[in-house]
Amino acid sequence: MAPNAAAGADTFPKLLVRNAQIFGARPAMRHKDLGIWQTWTWAETLDIVRAYAVGLHRLGLKRGETIAIVGANRPRLYWSVIAAQVLGAVPVPVYADAVAEELAYVLAHADVRFAAVEDQEQVDKILSVTERVPKIEVMLYDEKRGLRDYDHSRLHSMEDVIEEGRKALASDPSVRAWFDGEIAAGKGTDPSIILYTSGTTGVSKGVVLTNERSINAAADTVAFDKLTENDVALAYLPLAWVGDHYLNYAQGMVSGFCMACPESADTAMQDLREIGPTFYFAPPRTLELLLTRVMIRMEDAGYIKRKVFHYFIGVARRYGERILNGQPVPLIGRVLYSIGSLLVYGPLKNVLGFSRVRVAYTAGEAIGPDLFNFYRSIGLNLKQLYGQTEAFLYVTAQPDGEIYSDTVGPACPNVDIRIAENGEVQFKSPGMFTGYFKDEDKTAEAMTPDGYVKTGDAGFFDEKTGHLKIIDRAKDVGRLNDGTLFPPKYIENKLKFYPNIREAVALGDQRDFVTVMLNIDLTAVGSWAERNNVVYGSYQELAGHPLVYDMIEKHVAEVNRSLAADRVMAGAQIKRFLILHKELDADDGELTRTQKVRRGFIAERYAPLIKALYDGSKEADISTEVTFEDGRKGVISARVKIRDMKSEPVAAAMGKAA
């Protein structure tokens, strides 16, 4: 049956009761334990949650209070969430790998008196910061191991709490009526969860979401992707991340699908294969890792297998995407593709655990077109979405059949998006948050006076597709002297998608035109050089080689063409570029330890080069101090050549953007 919105259920506990009634015998939760997949149906889940809620109530958890949830994806932690919601308490999931410092901040800020945690590790972590979390009184744990000798006056095993509740229910019939009353007392406007943002931009903030809004948002996307009680998802993303709470918990409650918890974080890939989910989410980095692993293993395969693999991957590249989109494909293409499915794509998807995936999403950062197209070409319906914790995830998502690697899709159903003067994306959505917990100033800052949420991301709507394109953080977006938008990261990412280009630094804010400084990828360009008999002795020599410049020039020209395809970006085409004589290195302070470019520092260090880029010279001298791995310092000097690029004409609507 199509889950029609939430059919009157305006809170998660009411949804649970509904699910137990209509999907009673269908699986709600699976967990691999001691090597065997254990299953709980919706009816069993309701029984457990009922007992658990009774137990929590007896321990003193009250309506309106908060309860921290700390640990990996395990059934009892999800049940802690729903049992707390039954009592009208607000769960506050915390990242399991948070260091004690972060944990203490969140627990203290959220005023938690209760904490439901996974195991001894988390108990120890909380015990180590109790003096900073004075309100904490009761801890519940899932995994008993190692906790036997602890002081149990404030520590309870979840199993025991559930058992206590079960006994109370059995001995006193009025308890059950009380439970039903508690569920009925819940209102849609009650907060259902507080999700703390990861805090990359300063102190983490607690995003308060309500039952009704969460359910409305989830109902929209469940209908959008036609999810039903027959779907299965693997819950392997952090509990405290909006993605897990939305994609698995909320969508699972609304559609009645089954959520499977992996045996442990390390087995997630194997568990994926065993469970064969139909709905899947992975950040681009995970997808890249999977692909690399496959490619490496293919290199070790026998000659025939390798040839067959590469041949059919080529076939998939030519026809796969079009077949998936339902576009016309020549007969020979269809025939080859179906042979490929039998020999390569099918087995490959099986190994990756994607055989049954109907809808897959990726989000979080820009995904390379090659990577994105690879998965689509082998028949995985991978799509992009754009979302935020404040929106309760979805702001935009790509509908089936309208997939482009460089957009994040049109606004989701019932979501209203606009682009502000400064290029910032702002939205109003059914699932949007009601505010930051105990922080009205920040809430006011994040909202516009007319009730839109500011995302902090800059973007624009693509004219041809009507999809949103996210280009950069709004605060990083600059302007050329003629007023054209200049999003450095957008341009750099486009360049870095070429395997030959390792690092790129785009310049242009408050200048007349855009220039870039590049690093070539020594592995990729080096192997190209070997194949083409280009002799080189060092990075510096290879980087300065005219043939390398020619090759990179082609890449830059392609990037310019793709920039020209968007009217908004056409003015930000790259006019001049150079290849740096040395690799940008964290040891020299040019990159952060997480390999992000430190613009300010680079601008200072390479001032002579930047001057040359803008004064029209054909080459420039530079000498830079470098730090060797053993700590010695040296100086590299070089004469770096600069190439001019010609502007691509602004394209009329023709073909899709690269």
Binding site: D33, L34, D124, G146, R148, D149, S264, Q270
Partner: protein, 266 residues
């Protein structure tokens, strides 16, 4: 010293007593006239400089070497000689200084091998994998899965151990020893060649095995920090002679021990 926060495990009667044991290979005295005991539920460390006779002592305890003199009492039963298989059926399991696993078999099968002594159905049933043999296998597999869970090695269950990194091989070996449900577990340098993180993990598992399964543990170890943190009592050997015996604090302050480790002018 126990893990922080945990109270002392009740340490009971003597499980194994070594009395005046001597062992020599030709003219080389490996162990001479050593006596000590291991009590139920404790973690007992045997330490000493290189060539002190630690591994020989362990080999005597599990019956691999036969001492020329002395007596070993295990579970109240005294015998001059003990054969390795008697030790195994009697409840003594061990791990080795150099990992001794079946390299081509998976981690799961290796640990399952530790259950061999507990299998009772006959060869015929096992061959058919039917009836009592099947029931037994399911039961043993359950125990093995508990150990896999205990040691957190789920992700390598199906991986041949030869492909595993050293630290994990050590863990699988511990798993196989635990699968025997031993009363006395002998660990020969469980942390040798490990990095700090692996050592910390291994220490955790040793403490947990002691706490959770109630296994009595005797271990040889070079890392003094580990020994002092883990063990309840320490016996120190030097040139085959026992030079000290007591709690880690007592041993640490013992002049003979300091001399043995730092070397003194003779």
């Amino acid at each position: 010293m126990r893990a922080p926060g945990g109270p002392e495990v009740a340490v009971g009667d003597v499980l194994l007593a070594v009395e005046n044991v001597s062992l020599s290979f030709g003219g080389v005295k490996a162990v001479s006239d050593v006596s000590f005991d291991i009590r139920k539920g404790e973690i007992r460390a045997i330490i000493g400089p290189n060539g002190a006779g630690k591994t020989s002592m362990l080999n005597i305890i599990n019956g691999f070497y036969q001492p020329q003199q002395g007596r070993i009492t295990f579970k109240g039963e005294a015998r001059a000689k003990m054969r390795p298989h008697e030790a195994a059926t009697g409840g003594i399991a061990r791990t080795f200084q150099n990992v001794a696993l079946f390299r081509g078999m998976t981690a799961l099968d290796n640990i399952m091998a530790g259950r061999t002594l507990k299998m009772h159905s006959n060869f015929f049933w096992q061959l058919l994998r039917y009836g009592p043999a099947m029931r037994e296998e399911v039961e043993h597999r359950h125990r093995v899965e508990e150990i896999i869970d205990f040691l957190k090695i789920q992700e390598i269950r199906r991986v041949p151990v030869g492909r595993l990194p050293y630290g994990l091989q050590k863990r699988v070996e511990l798993g196989r020893a635990l699968a025997m449900e031993p009363e006395l577990l002998l660990l020969d340098e469980p942390m040798a060649g490990m990095n700090l993180e692996e050592k910390e993990d291994m220490s955790r598992f040793v403490l947990d095995a002691n706490d959770y399964y109630g296994t009595t543990i005797a271990l040889i170890e070079h890392d003094m920090g580990v020994v002092m943190d883990l063990s309840d009592r320490v016996v120190v050997l030097d040139h085959g002679i026992k030079i000290a015996d007591g709690t880690p604090e007592e041993v640490k302050g013992n002049q003979a021990v300091i001399d043995a480790y730092l070397g003194v002018a003779h």
